[in-house]
Subunit: 228 residues, 4 copies
């Protein structure tokens, strides 16, 4: 398999850090996002290609992988997208809860299935799903997000059990804490109290590089000062 990577849900700080880390390691990257306009600078910087894709739409995901097939299936696929419907349970709009499930979990299935179909031919590859604190703990006023992230973790665990013996590494990363960004800078008096996207990306790269004799299916990352 060629050294090619697909990052789905690109745009945020983590995706950009992943694109940079993968590019630096020699991967040709494709960035998929609903809106690719904002990806121009990152593509230029990393040599990545962008493809528009709404992961909630099955035909979009099919078209995405069909495009990739033309040049060669990715050996690394990372799934980041999530949506949230916040608020007290009784005030949640069912349509938004459905949307949260669709983007956070069902899109992960669509992308994971399409990726696995290609990787099974090569009997190798790595699929990483991005989780959150909500993947392992259902918080109050966050029922929809808990549903979506628990579901994505169930998908990742089932895929790991099924696909790892066929050579495909499936992993789930629990990001337990806030991620720093331009709009959410790290407080000066609390250094490293938010997760640096580059630091998270290093754990993704570690997962991608692990020898198949010692694969991790899940890694949690959190800032040193995070209460857990």
């Amino acid at each position: 398999m060629s050294k090619t990577a697909l990052i789905v849900g690109a745009g945020s700080g983590l995706s950009a850090a992943l694109a940079r880390a993968l590019s630096k390691d020699g991967y040709s990257c494709t960035l998929a996002a609903r809106n690719v306009d904002k990806l121009a600078a990152l593509c230029k910087e990393t040599g990545a290609t962008s493809i528009a894709c709404d992961v909630g739409r099955r035909e979009d995901v099919e078209r995405l992988f069909a495009q990739l097939d033309a040049t060669g299936a990715p050996s690394v696929v990372i799934y980041n997208p999530s949506a949230r419907a916040r608020g007290p349970l009784v005030e949640l709009d069912p349509a938004k809860v459905a949307q949260t499930l669709a983007i956070t979990a069902f899109g992960g299935f669509l992308v994971g299935q399409a990726a696995a179909k290609r990787m099974l031919e090569a009997k190798s590859g790595t699929i990483v799903f991005t989780g959150a604190s909500a993947s392992v703990k259902g918080y109050a006023n966050s029922a929809a997000f808990a549903m979506g992230k628990f579901a994505l973790r169930g998908l990742a665990q089932s895929m790991a059990r099924e696909l790892q013996p066929q050579g495909i590494h499936v992993a789930h990363v629990v990001i337990d804490g806030g991620i720093s960004s331009a709009t959410r800078p790290v407080p000066a008096d609390k250094p490293d109290s938010l997760l640096a996207p580059e630091a998270i990306a290093e754990s993704y790269m570690h997962l991608i590089k692990q020898s198949r004799s010692a694969w991790s299916w899940e890694i949690e990352v959190r800032p040193w000062v995070e209460r857990f």
Copy 2:
């Protein structure tokens, strides 16, 4: 609150055992199922009423609770429905995976939300979600079911954290093993090797009766001989 119970996803052996246990304990029961024809005998036996409801349809769930409102909101609501799309990940039909999520998890949200709206007025009530081994372990060749059951557990845990301090007991039961039934009798040489519906129902009744000073949010039940 009156002693009234709603069992959603009625029909299977567990639902019938729950209806019998609740009736015996003085509850007026309503049984909701897609097809209520098969419930006639059970209704006659337990004095329960049946209402047709497809939990995958939002309007059905709304109609169900509107009907109940006429006579008084239920103080106990149990959510049983689930759907499965079985098989290797790459062979799963996305439409069936979506259906699995809709019935197993999203319907749980619709019913749980409608129940909570009523119970919050009384500041009391019990909502129990029926889980499975797949709620806590993602098995190979069972990605869709893992997604649905993990999501339902995330919902239950989030609801417990949010609603318990408001007086509503939310619980999740992990049924870890096969349930015996007329079509799946217990092997004569392996007594009690399948879960008896009546035995499971006893743990539901225990949850319903727990004092609020010592609530359980989750209980696992499995046959004595089950490997776990």
Copy 3:
């Protein structure tokens, strides 16, 4: 097997509630504690017998069961004792950490092993270990207690996997919150905000009565208002 119960670590509110609940259900109870003087009133009330036993001493545990053998081995054994060494890790006295492990975990092994030897002959019986929040979460400034309670849970889980298929029910109860008592009354403005010993005892009785077709190996109990 006769309806006889042994409660180890008797004296606290929970043990007394267990003795009352078991007696009420027809069990002849033996209460084992380091200091049995304080148990006189409870013995009189419940008809229980008391035996002095320091669970940290192997010979004491052997003598305890030898005494019980004279009248018939217990069909229910409950293990409550724990010790704590509190404080920042670096300030903990190693001797007290060793003592915490000895009372909280090793004593559980000694009692569990002695109980299992008797119960295996009858191929029935119930052994319940009392856990705490610290059984599943290692808190800061509580390393010793975390070690002891994690160890006891590991013991209970291993015993459940090994002994349940031989007819012995092994369970672990996670008590997540403070227990009310004469010296720690429930705040008047926060009703039921501490676990009532009688309420906890009901979950123990439920475990003891469960049909072997649907055994729980672990139950968590916490007050409705407890943050978790």
Copy 4:
């Protein structure tokens, strides 16, 4: 803090791989083991120093760290030792169970406490505890090992919560599967079906190198074909 590492419980394949990986990365290593004779070749190869230490003896652990203090406290400490008492619960020798707890868990406390005392002065350092499948699952016929490994995990989690906000990274590695060695070679027809010590060591090195903005407290590693 200088780049110095202490590996406790040295001798096995994993310890040797850790010594090599740390040395290659510029660490001066000290290897502590009950019997240091067998470490001569490894010391020569990696430039490591060896110190005899029985972790079950408090005075040995104190002497070990006193010796290290002379040249500078270690910035990385890895705790590997474990002991096992195998067999059906009722056949276990209590003395061996006590020994299992002493080596597997209490020794971890002694070493972790001594390491933390030094690292807190520098407000930095990494302590890694080596776990096993038994750290998170209590298997039948393995009660003693489950007790020891659960206890060690409780210690590690408590230390992580307490010490990480003080700058010390505490991690726990769950090694889920057999480790290959000279006496336990990988079957020729099942490549990578046992964990390669060098592959495990890479995950330790990743933990050691993690930025404090994104620390993992636990990583599981298992061979691609391992059932889990």
